[in-house]
């Protein structure tokens, strides 16, 4: 099948950037979306045009490197699926697709579809951890974790840090991402001592990074490739309010 692509081309952070039109004539149904971009790039190289820069690494939906807006949807039309796991059998001959990078103040464009998501690392650095020095841990079975809690914690811990939630949010909030880490650690007994401090520090950092505020729109949940639930944001808010009230 033939696919028409309109892709955001921007040489570097200071370039203005524009959309450019390309055609990929022989797209196979079994191809992944990124393999289609590989094919386009090989073709561009033959034609002496610079290939489109896009981030990717694992191509298994786990590293969180890939992602762009496809016709206004982060990671494309398929729910619960990263761009690298999206396959062309979900498109049809003649489809026109508009590819743009994540748009958010906190994610400056590096080149074409590549953005800088360092702000997410700094949110984790602010408090997204349990402080335990190497070698000081008790036996693994010394702390029991009810299966139900372990499962819910794992649901939240599945976040891959891709930034789609931010890109899709009209406020460019990082609430789903931040809430996911707060819920992952807060649902475990090991995470309790630092729970309140964590919420305060991570929320403050997100603000400093110029992410917007959450107004409960829910677009983030709809596009999250790991299907992180909005309830993590509720948990984050509850932890934050409790911490503010107790003055920690």
């Amino acid at each position: 099948m033939r696919i028409i692509l309109h892709i955001w081309r921007q040489r570097n952070a200071s370039d203005k950037g524009k959309m450019s039109r390309y055609e990929v004539p022989d797209v196979n149904h079994e191809m992944s979306f990124l393999q289609m971009l590989d094919v386009l790039n090989e073709d561009l190289i033959v034609r002496n045009e610079e290939p489109v820069a896009f981030d990717h690494d694992c191509r298994e939906g786990i590293c969180g490197m890939c992602g762009c807006m496809v016709n206004g949807m982060a990671h494309g039309p398929l729910p619960g699926t990263t761009l690298c796991q999206l396959h062309m059998r979900h498109f049809k001959d003649g489809d026109e697709l508009y590819l743009e990078p994540w748009r958010a103040k906190a994610f400056p464009v590096v080149k074409d579809l590549v953005v800088d998501r360092g702000a997410l690392d700094r949110i984790i650095a602010a408090g997204g951890y349990i402080s335990v020095a190497t070698g000081s841990a008790p036996d693994g079975n010394a702390v029991l974790v009810p299966k139900e809690n372990a499962e819910r914690s794992m649901d939240a811990a599945a976040c891959i840090g891709c930034g789609a939630c931010v890109a899709m949010c009209p406020n460019a909030a990082a609430a789903l991402f931040t809430g996911a880490k707060i819920a992952h650690l807060g649902l475990l007994p090991q995470g309790q001592p630092e729970r309140e401090q964590r919420a305060i520090a991570m929320v403050a950092q997100a603000r400093q990074e110029l992410f917007g505020s959450c107004t409960n729109i829910g677009e983030c949940e709809a596009v999250c490739p790991k299907e992180i639930k909005l309830e993590v944001i509720a948990r984050m808010n509850a932890d934050f309010i409790r911490a503010s009230l107790t003055g920690r």
């Binding site: 040489r11 570097n12 196979n28 079994e30 191809m31 992944s32 393999q35 590989d38 090989e42 190289i45 045009e49 610079e50 290939p51 820069a53 981030d55 990717h56 690494d57 191509r59 298994e60 786990i62 590293c63 969180g64 490197m65 796991q85 396959h87 590096v110 080149k111 998501r117 360092g118 997410l120 690392d121 984790i124 650095a125 997204g128 951890y129 349990i130 335990v132 020095a133 190497t134 070698g135 841990a137 008790p138 693994g140 079975n141 702390v143 029991l144 974790v145 299966k147 372990a150 914690s153 794992m154 811990a157 599945a158 891959i160 840090g161 992952h184 650690l185 475990l188 090991q190 995470g191």
Partner: protein, 617 residues
């Protein structure tokens, strides 16, 4: 050159303890005066950087992804081994040690492996404390599953995302310690700036080199550049031909294929591997009656069944396909069938165990493994070879340490499932932070800076390579060369090797390499993000490494673990080792591009686990 492994002697149970006691310590107040560079933020590099920073050293950590959390370790699915014996099923440190030495087909150092098995206990404790959400039983205790090559249940897991959760643990520990980012020379991927960084010691935790083959289960960015350039500056490369083929990957679907996807080995706990009894049987799997199916692993290896080690499972799948009994359009696949497990346990249990893997399979192939068996085929997965290191994990270059998949230690000629995560974290959390202090405390360092001759030379080398690649202005893309190299390697230095094929590969690679340098086409400039240029540098290194792999494979006239030389097999078609002549680690020294490398041998002795023909029957 005399290779000194610094392996301790005496009773194996106390070797590490005694060795550790004899290591010199750095006074806590002095630690901040030392700078250590860690290249890599995977399980090995990330855990090392976090632990070293915690001890008070100045640490700079580098990675090529946009965040340390994205290192390739994130993709590990199945689990991590530890000899906790929580299930009272007869496991022990000694048994894990035994299984690993045997699984590695007697080509690893006993001292290292015993230390690894012992440390496995601390790793689980550490990760639980960090908040890794390991799977639990209803009682709240940690759950385990079984993996290939073992008859006990010792694999800890977090759904099908164990690597992700362990890596996030290390990453969070790292973020807690250091705002993410000295001698090494780096090229800033975004600005193209070439900079020298200086340190008192350098740690490489840059992962494996499976991407030599182009198609592998490794992430697209995995590369050999750091270890290869260290090799070219003097570090010995050990057992380069020891590569692991993973039996359960989604088969290749077309020429555009860019990478292969692993279906975790844990699936072999409940999935049964089979092919049709008859050649060329094109019926749909559901139409093939029980009596006309050949569950070849269960038939040939009744005691391990579907859980034989990876090399054995892979070779048998290849053999079935070579006989013309392969399935799917290409005939290069076998079935992995969950029908019986679903009948026995119910679909919901299977979903809980493997749901995300089944989803991934469905997304990629468009087929539903709850209804139809998966189609799988072996693919390149892991590299046991790597830079040679001594018991302290230091290479032969003083101050250069190598950890994780990047080194050659611990797994011999074949790695057992769920043991790479264990090794990466053992190296990073518990071994290196102890051994590196001994080097720092025993040496005096003079200040070096960017004006140092060696730094200037290294910088101008990097500049020259970049220029040369951009100036070639040839006709073919980097990927097209990489694909061609990969095909040569898969065909002649892959699952089965022989003298003729290896010689043929050695005749093909050098001219292709020459052609690459004059004919590659890299567009754009070196002053901004240029993904083709990044790839071009990596592929240049793969060409040189590929040649060394073939030489090593040709030199090792025996079969062992993942290295299967067709000329050396038992009457039943199993790998035939030659302990008399090849019980050594082959550590190669670089002599120049296209020049024959020199071989140094580190003899291996076995005092505890006596070499025997591996048997999983």
């Amino acid at each position: 050159m005399e290779l000194n492994s610094k392996s301790p002697t005496g009773p194996i149970e106390t070797r590490w303890e005694r060795h550790r006691f004899n290591l010199k310590l750095v006074n806590p107040a002095n630690k901040r005066k030392y700078t250590i560079i860690v290249v890599g933020s995977g399980l090995a590099g990330g855990s090392a950087a976090a632990s070293l920073a915690e001890l008070g050293y100045n640490v700079d950590c580098f990675c090529f992804q946009d965040s340390p959390r994205r290192a390739h370790s994130i993709a590990a699915q199945g689990g991590i081994n530890a000899a906790k014996n929580y299930h009272n099923d007869g496991d022990s440190v000694y048994r894990l040690f035994y299984d690993t030495v045997k699984g590695g087909d007697f080509r690893a150092r006993e001292s290292n492996v015993y230390r690894l098995a012992g440390i496995s206990l601390n790793i689980i404790d550490q990760c639980v404390a960090q908040g890794v959400p390991f799977a639990r039983e209803y009682s709240g205790y940690l759950d385990n599953r079984s993996f290939g090559g073992a008859q006990v249940s010792r694999t800890f897991y977090a759904r099908g995302q164990t690597g992700q959760q362990l890596l996030l643990g290390a990453y969070q520990a790292l973020e807690r310690q250091i705002g993410f980012a000295r001698g090494i020379v780096t090229r800033d991927l975004i600005s193209g700036k070439i900079e020298s960084h200086f340190a008192d010691a350098v740690v490489l935790g840059t992962g494996g080199y499976g991407n030599v083959y182009y198609l592998s289960t490794n992430a697209k960015g995995c590369n050999a550049t750091a270890i290869w350039r260290a090799h070219k500056r003097g570090a010995l490369f050990a057992n380069p031909c020891f590569t692991q083929i993973h039996p359960t990957c989604i088969p290749v679907s077309g020429e555009y294929q860019s990478k292969l996807t692993l279906m975790s080995e844990s699936l072999r706990n409940d999935g049964r591997v089979w092919v049709p009894e008859k050649k060329g049987d094109k019926r749909a799997p559901s139409q093939i009656p029980e009596a006309e199916r050949d569950y070849f692993l269960e038939r040939k290896y009744p005691s391990f069944g579907n859980l034989v080690p990876r090399d054995v499972a892979s070779r048998n799948a290849k053999a079935a396909c070579d006989e013309g009994r392969g399935v799917g359009e290409s005939g290069l696949a076998v079935y992995l069938d969950f029908r019986d497990a679903i009948e026995r346990l119910g679909a919901s249990v299977i979903k809980e165990r493997y749901g995300n893997l089944f989803d991934m399979y469905n997304r990629i192939t468009g087929e539903d493994p709850y209804k139809d068996p998966m189609r799988i085929y072996p693919a390149i997965h892991y590299t046991m070879g790597g830079l040679w290191v001594d018991y302290n994990l230091m290479s032969n270059v003083p101050g250069l340490y190598v950890i994780g998949e990047a080194n050659f230690s611990d797994h011999g000629a074949n790695r057992l499932g769920a043991s790479a995560l264990m090794q990466g974290l053992a190296d990073g959390y518990f071994v290196l932070p102890n051994t590196i202090g001994d080097y720092l405390a025993s040496n005096k360092f003079e200040k070096v800076d960017a004006s140092h001759a060696a730094a200037r030379e290294a910088e101008s080398d990097v500049q020259a390579v970049t220029r040369k690649l951009l100036d070639a202005k040839g006709k073919r893309s980097v990927d097209s060369y990489h694909r061609e190299l990969g095909k040569i390697m898969w065909e002649h230095c892959g699952m089965a090797r022989n003298t003729e094929g290896l010689k043929h590969a050695l005749a093909l690679i050098p001219p292709l390499r020459e052609q690459y340098w004059s004919d590659v086409k890299v567009l754009g400039s070196g002053e901004e993000l240029n993904q083709s240029l990044e790839k071009a540098g990596r592929v240049a290194d793969f060409f040189e490494l590929a040649e060394l792999m073939c030489r090593d494979a040709l030199e090792r006239n025996e079969s062992c673990g993942g290295h299967f030389r067709e000329e050396y097999q038992t009457p039943e078609g199993e790998a035939a080792r030659d302990d008399e002549n090849f019980a050594y680690a082959a550590a190669w020294g670089f002599q120049g591009v296209g020049q024959p490398p020199v071989l140094h041998k580190e003899p291996l002795t076995f005092e505890y686990v006596h070499p025997s023909q591996r048997s999983y029957k």
